[in-house]
Homo-oligomer: 239 residues x 2
DNA sequence: GAGTGGTCTAGACCACGCA
DNA sequence: GCGTGGTCTAGACCACTCT
């Protein structure tokens, strides 16, 4: 799995140092880092090398740089986190923001499929979140979200969960979601889908199976969504 | 649409020059460019600036750089072009290569929907390719592909089309596909789907609606695919 | 005007591929 | 051992933001 390059560029080492600091929460989301110059001096590298590191982290959307102002820890704000990982839109491309519907949270033993998906051990516990999301006031998406309980202590005791869970992960649990692997397929609506979403059994639904990856490259969330596909599409740009 | 920055960095100008040269086919796909040093001298900029340009174009997958060897025009080889824009896989993520099935090509007048999708004028003609693709020897995907006829002269006279059209676009028509906007939805199989794909009417299919964008930022292809979703998923990684 | 990131330069040395 | 891209440095100047 892990190569041993035998040669480890300086900027790579500095990169890892900064990533570690961010993961430790040395700076809060939205807060400014020291200037390029200051960081370079502090770590004993040239400004050019420091810049290379900060630019790379900006490309990974962990930092944001604004000319004349500074370098900031990227915030998984509602807006941003939503449009980055929530790809549902109206046909034609117009983005939309779902509303919150029914929601249940519980902690339970993990199942074999979950252990496989999230690299868990037998006996590990998981948090299960089941929720409905609304478009135009009507139920449109059913989601089942599974998290390793060890990483999210007490999350089941929270009064209510925000629409964008990833900002909660970041601010409350110092877990930054940096990428997600998704698999989409088309399935027929079940009786349960009919009950929740109000579509006839057999209606084609868009099923999304997502595993979210943290900055530390851990699989931290498994999410399966079933979405009405009549007025909703999954929009993505390939590069 | 187009901002006037009022200030145009040097590397941006050099970038445009190189892009233009690539689009003009000054170097063939797979061929090596002059070295960083040589290009920098030729264009009268420093090596650092030249490097910035070449790195940016590498990030856009237009070039490939190999230490010790040189900088090459990225080839839309079968392998690469396929896995870059063809996202179908087996559940679990294993990539697969479809085989070619039935195929028809014709040139005809464009319809309103096509004019809208591809930014065409009324009266512009289009090439329509209808084809079936096989997985494990069985029909699994139906595709309708629409191209502006003006950009692909004589394409309808070709004996047969390759599995990966984008390498054909690149080598024969100097059109580099650099990105694609896709919209996915779930639809019920029609009688025609039943006839071609052998699935019962009403079976959920995965429908993909793609517009492919060229290096010159033109909308060059509209492709609608209907895929069996029983043993096939659409796999994508979000960053 | 002071401070930040953004651009640009010139030059040195390192790692890789190949003959 | 030569030529290529990859890393690293030091320093200058430009553009943007805020006071």
């Amino acid at each position: 799995m892990s190569d041993t390059p035998g040669y480890r560029p300086l900027y790579r080492q500095v990169y890892d140092i900064i990533v570690r600091k961010v993961a430790q929460g040395v700076w809060r989301p939205g807060e400014a880092l020291p200037s390029e110059q200051a960081l370079a001096r502090e770590l004993g590298v040239s400004q050019g090398t420091m810049r290379k590191v900060l630019d790379a982290l900006t490309a990974e959307k962990l930092l944001e740089r604004r000319q004349g102002k500074g370098t900031f820890i990227a915030e998984n704000t509602q807006e941003r986190a939503l449009f980055r990982f929530f790809r549902m839109a109206r046909p034609g491309g117009e983005r939309l923001t779902p509303q919150r519907g029914e929601e249940t949270v519980k902690v339970r033993a993990s199942r074999a499929a979950e252990q496989a998906k999230l690299d868990l051990m037998r006996g590990d516990r998981v948090v299960e979140i089941v929720r409905t999301r609304l478009i135009d006031e009507r139920p449109a998406i059913r989601e089942i979200i599974v998290l390793p309980a060890a990483l999210f202590p007490g999350i089941e005791k929270r009064a209510s969960l925000p629409n964008t869970l990833y900002s909660l992960y970041q601010t409350e649990y110092s877990i930054n979601i940096v990428s997600a692997r998704e698999e989409l397929s088309a399935v027929a609506a079940t009786a349960e889908d009919q009950a929740v979403l109000g579509v006839p059994v057999g209606t084609p639904l868009l099923l999304t199976d997502r595993v979210a990856i943290s900055l530390q490259e851990r699989k931290v969330e498994w999410r399966v969504s079933r979405a009405r596909s009549d007025e909703l599409v999954y929009a993505v740009t390939l590069n």
